[in-house]
Symmetry: C2
Subunit: 141 residues, 2 copies
DNA sequence: TTTGGTGCAAATTCTTTGCATCTCT
DNA sequence: AGAGATGCAAAGAATTTGCACCAAA
């Protein structure tokens, strides 16, 4: 399935990479509509899903709820506001992580930090096993 | 608003603390129904929301989508399966975090790790300011 | 041309809420 | 008794999908 370069897809990815705001599909739709007024929300959802699945952007999820997308494909971490849902990049590379964690109960980038969480993503033993037996299965979200 | 100890609330919290599976509201509802067959999904949602708001449990959110709840109120981290959505506790305290991150590209607890993310939760400067001016505002989820 | 993509609207899925009734304290 | 809580069902949000038409390769 070769990804066709449609006007819509190109625009979506361009805007996403340009933005630093980790938009939701809904927010990004509002933005791309300024250039392509007739573009549908469904198209934005479909493209974000495909683009993130193929590694051209990242899909994020935080405590506040909505799924957000990030045009920055490098591994990096985030500051999530519990009140407004805003997400900022955490300006810390691997070497600074320790420092950041230690400072976590104080101020970081002007945020009042109330919690820290480290998440590892991967494939669990059961799924690894299932994968090798080629047994596809639909999962309830 | 003193939390009343109803049969439903007690059961929900008990089961949540007993489980190690970080259930969704839907999953937990299925479980508590075994004891209280007439309990409604709405009640489970309402109670999980209250219990987490009052610090008696934790509300989690991961890339896969659904909101999950955790009866363990101590700060700890998670392993999230990208395929089935399963969430396990990461057996690492503060001192081990560094080690875990370094091992992150290999195997942890049998998972094949594909990504690591650190999330800090807190209140952003804009919201802190807004808080002090007592200007309440509803936010789009 | 042909196959994937799009717009639109309807359908799903997850979560919240209004309301009449119940039940802790 | 009275403030909260519950069950139920309907409403809301967020996301996905079926389908007829369109457009990139």
């Amino acid at each position: 399935m070769p990804l066709r370069m449609t006007r819509q897809r190109m625009l979506i990815l361009e805007e996403l990479m340009r933005l630093k705001t980790h938009p939701t599909a809904y927010e990004l739709h509002a933005i791309v509509k300024r250039t392509l007024p007739q573009i549908s929300l469904g198209t934005v959802y479909r493209n974000l899903e495909q683009l993130s699945a193929s590694g051209r952007c990242q899909r994020l999820a935080f405590g506040s709820g909505n799924r957000r997308y990030d045009g920055n494909t490098e591994a990096h971490h985030h500051l999530c506001c519990l009140e407004c849902g805003r997400v900022d990049d955490l300006p810390a590379d691997g070497h600074e992580i320790e420092h950041v964690l230690k400072a976590a109960l104080g101020e970081v980038c002007g945020y009042r930090i109330t919690g820290v969480s480290i998440e590892l993503y991967g494939i669990c033993p059961a799924c690894k096993k299932r994968e090798t037996t080629k047994n596809k299965k639909t999962i309830r979200r």
